[in-house]
């Protein structure tokens, strides 16, 4: 499924016009150079003193002749042949030796790594051209010696790149798994690590090839590479240098050829890197815009405010958020409506991929665009639709009236600033406090979340704190500007169970103290829901399937999904022999079935469940389920 929706490497390269142009140019030059022996050219080294320094486009001499009357076109093609083959061979030699060194150093680590890498560092310490000159001086001038010199000076580049990649791969679990499968170190290196390093080697090769061609030309230009009369682009340039004013074409033509060759190789190299680099492949270089794009027809027409919703802190109506990946549309949120009462705690429960986080992110337009966009819905707050707000008004709300607490406190805190400074910054972003006042307020907030020695902890950095303490800092930041709504996205999932209990207790205390703040609590854990939530909305495949008071939904679920999900959570002390698992897995939101998304896994499903859209039906007071056969019904 994923394979078909992601374009292949070749297709990606083909669509990169610049890289494709480079590839065509390089192939053209290479093919001409390859077939040089059968082309109707005069021999490259045949001198004709009578025809010295003919201009280009002379009769029979398309590119003219040089100072010895040799045909420039022929020399150019034969010269390109030499330059390309030397460049390619040097790249191959450098990549094989350099990659082997990098692989061994990265995999073996310890002393081997130290010895090999210090050797490579020594090679790097010399200016490369000086080193190449020294090697050629020692071995004597000549094309093959120039080749060795160029290969040698480029080994460190490969070795360092490959070592870094190998080092990070060696610590991955799959290497341990291969060890447990009985593979020895050599086999692990060759069959497990090398295939993962290979794309990086190709990228490095494609980016160095142009450089190598240039270096070959450079050494030949200095008279240390190709020896006369052999044609080589660098040597031709060197010979033409003396005639730059009398016969500029003699040096300009090989110069242009070098330029075209190196440029085409570099363009291919950039293209190959873009195609093979997994980070660039997933499109992470396209920076998401500051807020989620809204492509909603109803947002533009801005319907009359929902009067019934004005007493709520927030009312969401038919919110739909989609992600466009390749050609597939993922309906992450497929029409979600709920109200969040003032001071209320609403739990949004569901499994991964149910759309609960995207719903939360969409409220303040935090879902990344591209690939995300909101295609429909309204989010009402005080009679205004947040989806019609311009960026500056959304930014004023973020961390102000509406604050977020995220799952992983370590990644949501900045590693280089003290936690006190980060809380103070959050305050200053919304309130006109001086630096000192903000710091004082930050310390009192840290006290409020019951961090011991708040005044000294304010000076510590996130990595110095435990997970529970970091999450308390995040809660302090969320409380900084007296929010009316706090959106907490799995705030205790990354914490240990004893720390989770501490944080849940803290959040309950804070709610009692700040009566006004409403809490939208996103979690997958029904235990956490019962502890903290007043109401709960259960999500499945991008839609709410059941809503009601937390105690009622948990003790008397109406939707089969809710009941089955609650039943398959093991409860300590209940000593179940076998857990009642739900068969199958949730549907992919890019390919939702017609009717009820849960029908395929539901033991009660019948024909009607798979027909048409099933609405959220009222079951009792403030109780709804998206099911045509709910587990219970109130008497009409």
């Amino acid at each position: 499924m994923t394979r078909s929706s992601r374009p292949s490497a070749w297709k990606l390269l083909r669509h990169n016009h610049i890289a494709f142009f480079g590839l065509c140019l390089f192939l053209l030059v290479t093919v001409i150079a390859l077939v040089a022996p059968i082309l109707p050219l005069s021999a490259p080294n045949d001198t004709a003193p009578a025809e010295r320094l003919l201009r280009p486009l002379s009769e029979g001499r398309l590119l003219g002749t040089d100072h010895l009357g040799r045909d420039l076109l022929s020399r150019l093609i034969w010269g390109a042949r030499v330059s390309i083959s030397v460049g390619l061979s040097a790249t191959l030699i450098a990549s094989v030796i350099g990659s082997a060194l990098g692989l061994i150093a990265g995999f073996a680590g310890g002393r081997t790594d130290n010895v090999l890498m210090r050797g490579v560092d020594m090679l790097m310490a010399f200016p490369y051209i000086l080193l190449a000159l020294a090697i050629v001086a020692a071995l004597g001038p000549g094309l093959s010696n120039a080749l060795y010199a160029i290969a040698l000076v480029n080994i460190p580049f490969f070795a360092r790149n490959i070592r870094g990649v190998t080092l990070s791969l060696t610590r991955r679990d799959f290497v341990d798994a291969a060890r447990l499968s009985g593979k020895g170190p050599v086999r692990i290196l060759l069959t497990e690590i090398l295939p993962n390093v290979a794309p990086i080697i190709v990228i490095t090769m494609s980016t160095t090839l142009g450089w190598m061609i240039l270096e070959t030309a450079g050494l030949s230009f200095l008279g240390l590479g190709a020896q006369p009369p052999q044609a080589d682009l660098g040597a031709m340039l060197g010979e033409g240098r003396k005639l730059l004013f009398t016969a500029p074409h003699v040096s300009v033509i090989p110069g242009l050829m070098i330029f075209a060759l190196v440029m085409s190789v570099n363009l291919i190299g950039d293209g190959v890197r873009d195609v093979l680099d997994p980070k660039l492949k997933s499109g992470s270089l396209t920076r998401p815009s500051a807020m989620t794009e809204v492509q909603s027809a109803d947002a533009k027409s801005s319907p009359a405010p929902d009067i019934s919703a004005t007493q709520d802190a927030l009312a969401v109506r038919n919110l739909q958020t989609e992600f466009l990946v390749g050609t597939d549309i993922y309906k992450a949120v497929g029409g979600v409506s709920f109200e969040l009462g003032k001071g209320e705690c609403l739990g949004l429960v569901g499994e991964s991929g149910s759309g609960k986080s995207v719903t939360a992110m969409s409220l303040l337009r935090l879902a990344p665009t591209p690939p995300g966009r909101i295609v429909s819905g309204q989010i009402w707050r005080s009679g205004e639709d947040l989806l019609s707000f311009p960026l500056h008004r959304i930014q004023a709300l973020r961390g102000g009236e509406i604050a977020y607490i995220f799952q992983d406190p370590l990644s949501s805190l900045h590693p280089l600033f003290s936690v006190g400074a980060q809380v103070a910054e959050a305050i200053q972003a919304h309130q006109p406090y001086s630096h000192r006042e903000a710091w004082r307020a930050a310390v009192s907030l840290l006290e409020q979340v019951r961090l011991p020695n708040a005044a000294s902890i304010a000076h510590s950095y996130p990595h110095e704190l435990s997970g529970g303490m970091r999450q308390r800092v995040c809660i302090a930041m969320a409380l900084a500007n007296h929010p009316q709504i706090i959106v907490a996205d799995e705030p205790t999932t990354a914490l240990d169970v004893t720390v989770q209990a501490q944080v849940l207790k803290l959040m309950n205390q804070q709610r009692k103290q700040n009566e006004a703040a409403a809490l939208l609590f996103i979690t997958h854990d029904f235990g956490v829901v019962s502890e903290i939530c007043d109401r709960v909305a259960v999500m499945y495949a991008g839609r709410i399937v059941e809503v009601g008071a937390a105690g009622e939904v948990l003790n008397k679920p109406a939707h089969p999904y809710t009941r089955l999900l609650i039943n398959c959570v093991p409860i300590p002390g209940r000593n179940q022999d076998r857990l009642p698992a739900i068969p199958g897995s949730p549907p992919a939101v890019n390919n939702l079935p017609a009717g009820c998304a849960f029908a395929d896994r539901c033991p009660f499903a019948e024909g009607d469940c798979r027909n048409g859209d099933i609405r959220l039906r009222p079951l009792g007071e403030n109780r709804f389920a998206r099911c045509i056969k709910p587990l219970w019904k109130t008497a009409p």
Partner: protein, 326 residues
Amino acid sequence: MSMSATLLTASNLTRHYGGGRGWLGRRKPLIQAVQGVDLCIQPGATLGIVGESGCGKSTLARMLVGLDQPSAGHLLLDGKSWPDQSRSERKRLHSQIQYVFQDSLSALNPRKTIRAILEAPMDHLLGMERNARYRRLQELMEAVGLRPELLERYPHELSGGQAQRIGIARALAAQPQILVLDEPVSALDVSIQAQVLNLLQDLQQHYRLAYVFISHDLAVVEAVSDVVAVMYFGRIVEQAPAGELFRSPKHPYTRLLLDSIPLPGKKGLRGESETIELPDPAAPPQGCPFAPRCVNARDKCRHEQPRLRPMEGEERIAACHFPLVF
């Protein structure tokens, strides 16, 4: 516990990191990850190990399967000292004890097909022929409940639940007697978690496997284990048959863990409310490492480290000077 032959015995298993002196003679801090752990693993039984992050449970698991070397103590696998053995003997012993990783996807090489991944242990540990491998692959895929078409797929094309099933299949491919499962379901959604737990139960019955089941989730550990060991700060602090442990914990830390679990449909969480400073692993306290958090701690607890000792009239051991009474 029955008197059947013990498969794996760990005695006084210890692992520390760091220590010694650095380049310029500076003392490096010594971190005690696992300290003096004794374990016995019986055929067909499940030993659950529960603890919070940093308690040493993963280090212990890696030592059991031979991915990490103990700094002190012994492991006896099948009556032989493990893992220091000749290469061929090591291979034979390796096929006896296998490991299931927490992050199943990262434990699968992204550039290999599922077939190549599953064939590796059959080829390198058991030296199976091509035809035998083929038959075994079909059997394995059926055992873990996956369609054989998946064999030609690459890991990134699998869902989390499928990837964990492949992880289990790979561990089974070597025909082990013991599986060490390190948080095998904690990355999965609850509905998938229940499927995988049930699968593990079926496989245990079918192949008469012994499990070492490591998790931070008490409820999950209780559901699968015969005996549960609770780890805190590198040590086992309490060990008892699963039902008894959860009915009446004797160590205050076990009690705290139980009290900290929020239960569906119930409100009023017990457990701690203050932030607790955990002991510094580089400078362990003199007495009981849990004493600073313990409501019952007395002077003795702060000065004398309690040893694991049997509790009267029970198949239980606990390391507490003043065990809880009910």
